[in-house]
């Protein structure tokens, strides 16, 4: 059963789906479809001219239409001009890059950041595929774990979704190195979507992202954070263990909460500011935030951008 949340601050009757509910669905494709079905067709346009191969419909010729698109066989039979239209398809490649470092395994509300990232990557991949874009997938921790180059064929979607689904939390985070690696492997410009918690040195993170952007790629960064990472709302003192380094630290949350929140806020603001400088889209998503809402808001912003 799918629960539909209606957020009071959101425009009606848009439906949003609780990410935790999505975790109950075993098929990632189904998850992606559910999420994407709520959208209209792609909001972005292909930056390149290309050819379509899949027939969509016929329509009457209007003045100004390219006469090359007139189907002469239909004119011969009906003596009327019809334009043969094909399903809109771009030849843009979407490269999904998912952080699978160990810190992404953290989740305090029933869904980990990695799960959320998987859902997000799958949804975006499915959505891209629906628009005839080539979709690729990369997962990394301190190195590139899996690299699936983008393809536009129907069978490739399953490959991508399968790769996303089998992704597991790996080792430590070293975001610069894998991003540089990916930037060197990509030969064609396209859309690059980075999904990560960005829990690394901010300078190194931005260096990595800039390497992706500098080749003319349209880069979008999703910073996925858990509510506990944002609020640090632990009720009592505890021995906190770093999931990647296993270092321990005794923390009384109420002592540090205020300062911690300020640091996180500054961090997010830093990424926003730096990304804006390099015309990189940046979005911080909370794992408790509905996926479709995140996509909706994101795509809406992209539409406005183009």
């Amino acid at each position: 059963m799918i629960m539909i949340h209606v957020h009071p601050g959101m425009p009606q009757p848009t439906r949003f789906i609780d990410p935790v509910v999505l975790t109950k669905i075993s098929s990632l494709e189904l998850v992606a479809r559910i999420v994407v079905e709520g959208f209209i067709s792609g909001l972005h346009r292909s930056p390149h001219l290309g050819f379509s191969v899949n027939f969509a419909e016929y329509r009457p010729y209007h003045q100004g239409d390219d006469i090359r698109k007139i189907d002469w066989k239909v004119f011969a039979r009906l003596d009327r001009f019809f334009i043969k239209e094909y399903e809109g398809e771009t030849n843009t490649n979407i490269q999904l890059i998912l952080d699978c470092s160990h810190s992404m395994a953290y989740g305090s509300r029933g869904i980990s950041k990695l799960q959320y990232g998987q859902f997000l990557a799958a949804s975006l991949g499915y959505f891209g595929f629906k628009q005839r874009d080539g979709v690729g997938f990369v997962s990394f921790d301190e190195n590139v774990v899996e690299f699936v180059p983008p393809r536009g064929s129907i069978g490739h979607l399953n490959t991508v979704l399968h790769s996303i689904e089998r992704t597991q939390a790996g080792q430590k985070t070293n975001i610069l190195k894998p991003l540089v690696d990916v930037a060197e492997r990509l030969r064609r410009r396209g859309i690059i979507i980075v999904i990560s918690d960005l829990l690394d040195e901010p300078q190194r993170v931005m260096d990595g992202v800039r390497r992706l952007a500098c080749k003319g790629n349209d880069v979008t960064v999703f910073q996925v954070l858990d509510p506990a990472e944002l609020d640090f709302d632990f009720p009592e003192s505890a021995q906190f263990i770093d999931m990647e380094t296993r270092a321990e630290m005794h923390i009384i949350p109420e002592y540090v909460r205020r300062e911690y929140c300020r640091i996180i806020k500054d961090q997010v603001a830093y990424y926003e500011r730096e990304c804006q400088k390099d015309r990189i889209d940046f979005a911080m998503v909370n794992t408790m935030q509905p996926l479709d809402h995140a996509l909706f808001t994101y795509l809406l912003r992209r539409e406005q951008a183009y």
Partner: protein, 708 residues
């Protein structure tokens, strides 16, 4: 501070609640895996310390609030006079016992004692109180417990003075303890500043102990290393070769631990040097010193014996009074005796009274006719000795003589007839002689006699004979005696063994009369042949002359009655003065006039030397010497002495503190303290709530909001 409901202190356990919560919260720290500690490490340590401090402040506020609530419920009140309790420390009551006995004059002990006392006063802190008591065998409170330390120091500077008195600790300690109780709460300390003489602990003080809670601190200025010479036991005696030569004797004592050579002892008579001797005296030795007294003019002479010793000068002089007697004239009235009749009636009396140069009496015999012819009876003493016949002129003369203070002794020999006696004396004396009796007219025989057995031994006349081996009258036989009838107003001092009065005393006016029922010679009895005869008649004359043994000196601390001394002196000198009407001056040894307490007839002698009691025409000198035991500076074990005085019961100060009872209204007022405590607790709780809320609010601030 006291509490109305002290049981509420059990509620103080509630203070443990916030502490326990605080600790439990720390102990139960569980392990939480978190994505990264990177940002947590960036949280400044300063912030954490500040937060910890605020939390500790909150904890403190909670504890304080609990404590104040508990305290408010116990309803504290100040049940006793508030002293320094508000100062947050135990206050002290310092009672300084300053020994000013004569022995403290040895060396620089007195200065050291005053300095020690001043140091105690200067060491007292705010809220403390100090009392100053000087003591010897007399205790004098210079200042009661006071916070005015300047006043105490002023008394130490100018008020206290060394005395010639002996040391006595018990009485002083009792008074100090009593004063310490006035301090109420707080610590009570008695500071005993003394040389801790062994002799200072009087027998009656042996069992004395201070109450529980009173501390006794000693400042021992004494030492075992001392050397002191003193004179004591002065006596004036007749030289053994007789001849009326007197000599003065005393003992020279060396109390110190050193032998002394070439010690000079001088005699001063009337403040003039009358001789000196030099002695070698070993340590602990006592040697006799003797000076002959050259012919002195009649009257009292101040005599001093002085030893040269610089260590303790106050006991160097021994004062005495030597009276060169002008002998008291005694007139014996007797019938004229022809040579054929042999001895006169006063033969034995004359022998008994004119016995030596030391005898105070000079007997002169006169006939009744001669006495009648004389204008006035000279002297104060008259013996009517077996006189026959009567005369109204003589009767009047004798009566006036007695009324004006004269002493009349009547000896009833065989010549005295009852009718004559009754005519002469019965009208003004409560004694009557019977016409005939078993003792009258009887022949003297060895078988017919009576004994004087029933004697009033307590009477001054017979007191010297009351002790064993001091003389007896029972071996005297009375062959002839008069039968007397005694009326009211007369006292029978002795009776014969058949019950008839033997010696009757009566008073008339200022004078006294004695009637002896037998003769004064051996015609009616054999008393003149007994050893008690001369002292008996001397005692009779002493009684009739109101004689009182004059002491040659008194000790410091004794009391005198100046007016009484003057009366006795006047009587001895045969002067007729009315003492009560006249002003009396008392001069101390320095010659300064001493004020006597109004309404008091007695005065305590404080200083060694010669006091003088003066009145118009009369001067009595009173030699005063220090108590001999005070010269012995033997040092006691002060630690042992003090431990014998302090209480064996360990008690807290509050247990023995004297509580001041308060009126209910005042008590209620003092108990209102709880309201302020409760208010303070409320304020603490409000502050805690405010701080806590502020901290919570602060924690929620700055949380980043998700946004795309």
């Amino acid at each position: 501070m006291n509490f109305v409901n002290p049981l509420f202190f059990i509620g103080a356990a509630a203070i443990a609640i916030p502490v326990l919560l605080h600790l439990i919260k720390r102990e139960r720290a569980k392990k939480i895996e978190f994505s990264t500690l990177m940002y947590l490490r960036k949280v400044s340590r300063k912030t954490i310390r500040y937060q910890k401090l605020r939390h500790l402040l909150l904890l403190l506020l909670r504890i304080l609030a609990f404590a104040l609530v508990v305290l408010a419920f116990t309803r504290p009140f100040l049940g006793v006079r508030q002293s320094g309790a508000s100062l947050g420390r135990v206050t002290r009551a310092h009672i300084i016992l300053l020994d000013n006995s004569m022995s403290m004059g040895y060396g620089d002990r007195w200065d050291a004692a005053k300095k020690s006392a001043a140091a105690i006063v200067r060491g007292a802190q705010q809220g403390d109180k100090v009392a100053l008591i000087e003591f010897s065998d007399r205790t004098f409170v210079r200042t009661s417990l006071t916070s005015n330390f300047a006043e105490v120091l002023s008394q130490l500077q100018d008020g206290v003075e060394l005395s010639d008195r002996a040391t006595r600790y018990g009485q002083a300690l009792k008074i100090a303890e009593k004063i310490s109780l006035e301090a109420g709460t707080g610590k009570r300390v008695i500071h005993l500043i003394s040389d801790f003489q062994k002799n200072g602990e009087a027998g009656e003080d042996q069992n004395f102990r201070l109450g529980a809670g009173v501390e006794l601190e000693r400042i021992d200025l004494g030492s075992d290393d001392f050397s002191n010479l003193a004179l004591s036991n002065v006596q004036v005696v007749e030289a053994s070769n007789g001849g009326g030569v007197l000599k003065i004797k005393c003992s020279l004592l060396n109390f110190g631990i050193k032998d002394r050579d070439n010690v000079k002892v001088a005699l001063l008579i009337d403040s003039r040097n009358a001789g000196e001797q030099r002695f070698r005296i070993l340590k602990g030795e006592s040697i006799p010193v003797e000076f002959g007294l050259p012919g002195l003019t009649p009257g009292a002479h101040p005599v001093s014996l002085e030893v040269e010793d610089t260590n303790l000068t106050r006991d160097n002089r021994l004062a005495a009074s030597v009276e060169a007697l002008s002998r008291t004239a005694v007139t014996a009235v007797e019938n004229a005796v022809s040579p054929a009749e042999g001895r006169s009636a006063s033969y034995f009396l004359s022998s008994a009274l004119n016995i030596s140069a030391l005898s105070p009496y000079q007997l002169t015999a006169v006939t009744p006719q001669k006495l009648e012819a004389a204008g006035r009876i000279s002297g104060n003493l008259l013996i009517w000795n077996n006189v026959s016949g009567s005369s109204s002129i003589l009767q009047k003369k004798l009566e006036d003589f007695v009324i004006n203070g004269g002493g009349l002794a009547i000896a009833l020999g065989s010549s005295t007839q009852a009718a004559d006696f009754n005519r002469m004396f019965a009208s003004w004396l409560p004694v009557k002689m019977e016409e005939s009796g078993p003792g009258r007219g009887g022949r003297r025989s060895t078988d017919n006699y009576v004994l004087m057995t029933n004697i009033s031994a307590a009477h001054p006349i017979f007191r010297p004979f009351s002790d064993p081996h001091s003389g007896t009258f029972v071996n005297a036989r009375f062959y002839t005696y008069a039968r007397l009838t005694v009326a009211t107003g007369a006292e029978v001092l002795a009776r014969f063994d058949n019950g008839t009065p033997a010696l009757v005393a009566a008073e008339r006016g200022k004078g006294r009369a004695l009637v002896f029922a037998s003769s004064a010679d051996d015609s009616g009895n054999d008393l003149p042949l007994k050893a008690v005869y001369a002292p008996f008649w001397q005692q009779i004359l002493r009684y009739l002359s109101h004689y009182r043994e004059e002491r040659r000196w008194v000790e410091v601390g004794e009391t005198i009655a100046p007016r009484k001394l003057l009366e006795e002196a006047a009587l001895r000198q045969g002067k007729t003065v009315t003492i009560s009407d006249q002003a009396v001056a008392l001069l101390d040894p320095a010659g300064d006039r001493v004020q006597m307490n109004p309404g008091s007839d007695v005065f305590t002698l404080d200083k060694a030397g010669f006091y003088q009691v003066r009145m118009s025409g009369l001067n009595v000198m009173i030699p005063v010497n220090p108590t001999p035991r005070e010269s012995n500076l033997s040092h006691g074990d002060s630690e042992e002495m003090v431990s014998g005085w302090v209480s064996r019961e360990p008690a807290s100060v509050s247990q023995t503190a004297e509580k001041v009872r308060l009126e209910p209204a005042e008590q209620e007022r003092m108990q209102q303290f709880w309201r302020f405590l409760l208010l303070a607790a409320l304020l603490f709780l409000l502050t805690e709530a405010f701080l806590s809320a502020q901290m919570s609010q602060g924690s929620d601030e700055g949380m980043p909001k998700p946004g795309i």
